[in-house]
Symmetry: C2
Subunit: 388 residues, 2 copies
């Protein structure tokens, strides 16, 4: 990777140009294989490490670049299996800001440990913002505006979540129920959160959309490190104590031994269940709406919409991911993702999804994109580990 392709460095340059100072310490939990994107995504090559839109950078690199103008520091939390790949993709990330989980313990332990380390380094007043490594945001300015408002609310000791403007009655996301407006300087759009919902059924989702007070929960949290840790200590004292013990040893020689001893015993629970839901019930959560072209790239159906079809050339009419050697004849709306280097020809197959990798080929349609998970489940059940 040469300097021009280094997203962290480019992002830093952008940060210098952007108005305003850093307002958060960014935490990026980088986990989740993205099984619905098999065979493109694999256990050893998870979704966040992939360039899924032909942008020339992975979703993780895009996330770091997007946060750079806002973040005084960036901390990535990932599984030990992916530490090397993350380090290579983010050459400017300080090694001490790359937290390796010996085993997955869900988002509360990951975000909690990062927040605890940041609190010890930068003080409990420091505002942290946690953002998934494998989402896309089309409108970076709208994203920055939402994060800055969220930071203003966090400075007033709110636990803040950014609520994504629902563009349809999706059943794939949980929803945030927004209540009354809050009067906090620097956060004109801030509202109290009445509660979080699980993924709804279609009728409920339609009702949420009609009501207008519901937003998609994209797992974006902004909060003072000390506020987060205090909530955690009150709600999950054992987990909080374990995290505190690791954080105390993090910048000391004992880090590895303490991590190895304490981490495996930590409770595995999502931050939503551990903190966001009970704190919302107690009236301590605020939200900022974000209409930012957000996408979690949940499957090939989404991907087909994200990649613009070729306007000319042999693959005209089809969306082609990467440098694939594709000829598409009467295949409008088709999606081709090919990493095998082979010649791929579509002939009279509009809308087909073809995912071509060196050891596995998937041919499907956007309508069936969510069923790809079942294929992976079956491969797992059959013990086809090399394909996972």
């Amino acid at each position: 990777m040469n300097a021009d392709q280094n997203p962290a460095r480019n992002a830093s340059a952008t940060a210098a140009d952007a108005p305003g100072a850093p307002v958060i310490h960014a935490i990026i939990p980088a986990g989740g294989a993205g099984t619905r994107l098999w065979p493109l995504s694999r256990k050893g090559r998870p979704k966040f490490l992939l360039d899924l839109t032909g942008a020339g950078r992975s979703l993780l690199q895009g996330t770091v670049a997007r946060l750079a103008p806002l973040a005084a520091t960036t901390t990535v939390v990932t599984g030990v299996a992916h530490v090397a790949a993350v380090a290579r993709q983010l050459p400017d990330l300080p090694e001490e800001n790359l937290l390796a989980e010996p085993a997955p313990r869900d988002s509360m332990a990951a975000i909690g440990l990062a927040a605890a380390v940041i609190a010890r380094r930068h003080g409990r007043e420091a505002i942290v913002g946690s953002f998934a490594a494998d989402h896309l945001v089309a409108d970076a300015a709208a994203f920055r505006n939402a994060v800055r408002q969220a930071a203003a609310l966090a400075a007033a000791d709110w636990l803040v979540t950014i609520g994504i403007e629902a563009t349809g009655p999706s059943t794939a996301f949980g929803y945030i129920h927004a209540g009354a407006a809050l009067d906090v300087p620097g956060a004109p759009d801030g509202r109290r959160v009445l509660g979080f919902t699980e993924k709804p059924d279609a009728a409920t989702a339609a009702a949420y959309l009609a009501a207008g007070d519901y937003r998609w929960n994209a797992g974006m949290f902004v909060v003072r490190a000390g506020v987060l840790l205090d909530h955690l200590a009150a709600l999950r004292p054992a987990l909080a104590a374990g995290i505190d013990e690791i954080a105390a040893a993090w910048d000391a020689p004992e880090r590895d031994s303490v991590m190895a001893r304490v981490w495996p015993a930590l409770e595995a629970i999502a931050i939503d269940h551990a903190i966001a839901e009970p704190v919302a019930a107690a009236g301590g959560v605020a939200t900022v709406p974000g209409d930012m072209g957000w996408d979690d790239v949940g499957g090939f159906d989404t991907l087909a919409e994200l990649i613009a079809p070729c306007q000319a050339g042999p693959a005209a009419g089809a969306a082609v991911l990467g440098e694939a050697d594709v000829e598409a004849v009467d295949a409008a709306g088709a999606l081709v993702a090919s990493t095998s280097g082979r010649k791929v020809v579509l002939l009279g197959t509009p809308g087909v999804v073809v995912v071509d990798t060196p050891d596995a080929l998937l041919v499907t349609t956007p309508e069936r994109a969510q069923d790809v998970k079942g294929v992976v489940d079956r491969l797992k059940a059959e013990g086809r580990d090399a394909l996972l």
Copy 2:
């Protein structure tokens, strides 16, 4: 290849069991890449060398086996590029019966030279039968019956063609127009041929089918070697002289030098135009109907009909060629031909055709199968020779 898989040897065993003696000297022109079956078929791996139905033998091996009960000798004519592959697939074929064309000169030169060599070895009274190397016949007994009747007509000095019972108004074949019945012993179904037609348009094909006197021309000719050579001498004297010069040197040390000098100058013309059509016009061609489950495996549409769908297992409902590792979910009527060794998953794509080879992937439908030729033409125009 072990002895049990040797089709020529198995075929000989069948010949011993079959009623009746050999009635022809078989000639098998093995040419034609089969571009409509790209990327399965290639210039260097033409259709006749492929096992296209999972029968465990190539179309060429199947053709030799089918002719074995009928043939006193078998002669294969192929391009120099394919001599080694043909020799390996047919280990029992005598080397002197494998005729290598230094350059393609169409079917008249190929069949004419084989007939001339057979005439010199076995006499001009010998009956030759010419059959393409890359066709399928489901009903071997019906085929043998038709060839035996054709041989009886040939013994009465007719040029005989076997006419395939038309099962639909195909526009992919030329037609044979059958006239009055002939009264030749051993050929109860023999009829005079009124003429040959080019591939018709759809309306004409429908009219042929309704009339009932038209049969598909599969290029199966049975005739005394001397009769064929006499027709050739009368109709194409220069070509006949060239062929005679090569044949005279065939079983002598001068074979290669004479072949190298004379062959390239021979006229390139199909046997249909050179002999069959003018002789039919003069009343010298007879036909025997054959309702034998014939197929020229002209494309993936045909292939999809020839291969029975899997009844059980992960690929149930789809037709799978070879040992491919396929999972098919809601993909009834799909065809998968995979030689890449990869896992292939079809998910919600009924009727799709997926042809998966190490360096090229084709995704199409039976409706577009005939347009595959255009893909190959474009690759050729682009100079993508490695893919041809």
